[in-house]
């Protein structure tokens, strides 16, 4: 693989995604979603987030001790931001990544690239550009959330900055398998819309299948990276390692499947 070509491809795709439908279909809902939520956090965050009601609500979603750690031990604004990012990443990754490979494969415009670079370079370039697009957008929101946290939360500046770094790193890792998941779906399909619909269908199917297998076997079975969310809330380092390791394992598996599909498909 020629990394120079991969970077040229990724930069070109990233630059043009910002002004084309494939990027805007992600950016517009993403920015709208975060505008509303950051506005809420700014106006009604702070003390409201550490109220008993908030802890009770969060306890319904996660374990009570996780809720307490997130809202009391850590800066609550950033904790709520983290919870929201983890919950919304699958949807935004689907919006951002549906046209990783599908559209250009269907329209056959990859033919102009394939005489100049290898399939692996195209695959890596597109993966990188979509990962950078969603990561940079999320980091931008993380910076805003940090600013709100500094304004609203009662924690020290150092504690907030440290936690913001920790949250950002987790978010960057959490996004990886979802972009990789979309590379599998996008490599299979021939249009962005069909890739989006397929991604949603397969995701729902895997959620149902995971729950069914868990119910039947009585053992926790994670078929999707979303199931590893709870491991990322830092109860103990061991859980965090399991979460991060699992996310990286999902990423590798999806990338391998996506690459095999793209390698074999007709362009």
């Amino acid at each position: 693989m020629n990394w120079k070509r991969i970077i040229i491809l990724a930069c070109f795709d990233l630059r043009h995604s910002l002004f084309r439908l494939k990027g805007l279909v992600f950016l517009i809902p993403f920015l709208f979603f975060w505008y509303l939520n950051l506005k809420f956090l700014y106006e009604r965050g702070g003390e409201a987030l550490v109220s008993p009601e908030s802890i009770v609500i969060l306890s319904w979603l996660y374990k009570p001790e996780i809720a307490q750690i997130l809202l009391i031990l850590y800066p609550p604004t950033l904790s709520v931001f983290l919870i929201m990012v983890l919950a919304s990443t699958p949807a935004f990754a689907m919006l951002s990544g549906n046209d990783q490979l599908a559209g250009d494969s269907g329209r056959q415009t990859f033919r102009f690239l394939l005489t100049r670079c290898t399939r692996s370079e195209i695959f890596a370039g597109r993966f990188l550009s979509h990962y950078i697009l969603i990561s940079l957008s999320t980091l931008l929101i993380a910076a805003m959330a940090t600013a709100i946290s500094l304004h609203n939360d009662q924690h020290s500046t150092t504690a907030i900055i440290n936690y913001a770094g920790h949250v950002s790193l987790l978010v960057l890792i959490y996004i990886l398998p979802f972009v990789a998941y979309m590379s599998v779906i996008s490599a299979l399909m021939s249009s962005a819309l069909s890739a989006l619909l397929m991604a949603v269908s397969v995701y729902i199917m895997l959620v149902i299948l995971g729950n069914y297998l868990e119910y039947k076997s009585g053992v926790s079975i994670e078929l999707l990276p979303g199931g590893l969310k709870e491991y990322l809330f830092d109860l103990n380092p061991h859980d965090l390692y399991i979460g991060v390791g699992g996310l990286l394992a999902f990423t590798m598996i999806y990338i391998c499947i996506g690459w095999l599909v793209f390698k074999k498909r007709n362009i």
């Binding site: 070509r5 043009h16 056959q108 415009t109 033919r111 690239l113 394939l114 100049r116 290898t118 362009i267």
Partner: protein, 308 residues
């Protein structure tokens, strides 16, 4: 001379359809080859395999000595795909610069190379536009431009003039003519005059099988056949007077068009027999519409394909 393309027992099926069937082709370097055959003969499939867009079902294919997917051939092949426009929503210039950068040019030299290509293909007025806003002919020119970036060793042109008006088609033919000695060309086209004018060799395929691969001169028997189209049917006495000329072996008349005849001869100096026939036609008061050395390429292709 080393082969630029070597296909061995190349087979590709799509469901029950055999697009390519046990195809064996060797093309030497610096050749200009015309690829012809009826619709669905497998021409576009062959091009797609030579560029690595499709994988062979069976058999092997090497281009410039390597597998088409190999990194070693990247940037050394240029292709004008049939009716595939450049990417939507991105200016032609931005795309051409991308292609040049991928071929190893830096930012400065990429722009210089694009300027050279713009001059060559005469697309100066189109480069700031988006491909979807261009006409069919303009799109063809821009996709031809991308195929020429970086002076690739091998250029594959799939129907380069189809759907173009005569002026635009002629411009593209002139560009090919200008470059034919600098690159190896493979041109797929239904326009056999075009193939005859710009190619040295011809590959005829039908139903995925190789029908004929030879030099065009050999195929049309340029040195022993005259194709003549008259303004009226040649009468018996005229045909007889041509037939008794020394070196004339046979006269073939066309039942569907009695104005057309082919004269087959065996002579060291074909020009002399040509002048004698012209003299006889003049004496008989018969006008000449066309007078070509060699049999019509179309007739030979039709004859070979219909034998399949």
């Amino acid at each position: 001379m080393a082969a630029i393309i070597e296909c061995r027992n190349l087979t590709r099926t799509f469901g029950s359809i055999r697009a390519l069937d046990d195809l064996n082709i060797t093309i030497p370097a610096r050749a200009s080859v015309g690829l012809v055959g009826p619709n669905g003969a497998g021409k576009t499939t062959l091009f797609a395999m030579l560029c690595g867009f499709l994988h062979p079902g069976k058999g092997s294919v090497t281009v410039l000595g390597h597998q088409p997917d190999s990194a070693r051939v990247k940037g050394r092949i240029g292709i004008l795909p049939q009716d595939i426009p450049l990417m939507r929503g991105i200016s032609v210039h931005a795309q051409l610069v991308l292609f040049a950068r991928l071929q190893g040019f830096n930012k400065v030299t990429a722009r210089q190379e694009i300027d050279r290509i713009i001059q060559l293909v005469n697309i100066g007025s189109l480069i700031k536009q988006f491909p979807e806003t261009l006409s069919h002919g303009q799109r063809k020119r821009t996709t031809l431009a991308q195929a020429l970036i970086g002076k690739p060793e091998l250029i594959l042109l799939d129907e380069p003039t189809s759907g173009l008006d005569p002026v635009a088609a002629n411009d593209i033919r002139n560009i090919i003519q200008k470059l034919r000695h600098e690159h190896s060309f493979i041109i797929s086209s239904h326009n056999l005059d075009e193939i005859k004018n710009v190619c040295d060799e011809i590959i005829i395929i039908d139903k995925g099988k190789l029908v004929r691969h030879s030099r065009i001169d050999d195929l049309i028997e340029r040195n022993n056949t005259l194709s003549i189209l008259l303004d009226q049917a040649a009468g018996g006495p005229l045909l007889q007077s041509i037939k008794i000329l020394p070196s004339v072996i046979k006269i073939v008349t066309d039942d569907t068009n009695p104005n057309r005849l082919s004269v087959i001869f065996q002579a060291d100096k074909p020009d002399q027999i040509q002048f004698k026939i012209l003299g006889l036609l003049q004496q008989a008061g018969v006008g000449i519409v066309e007078f070509n050395r060699g049999s019509a390429l179309t007739d030979r292709v039709v004859e070979l394909v219909s034998k399949q």
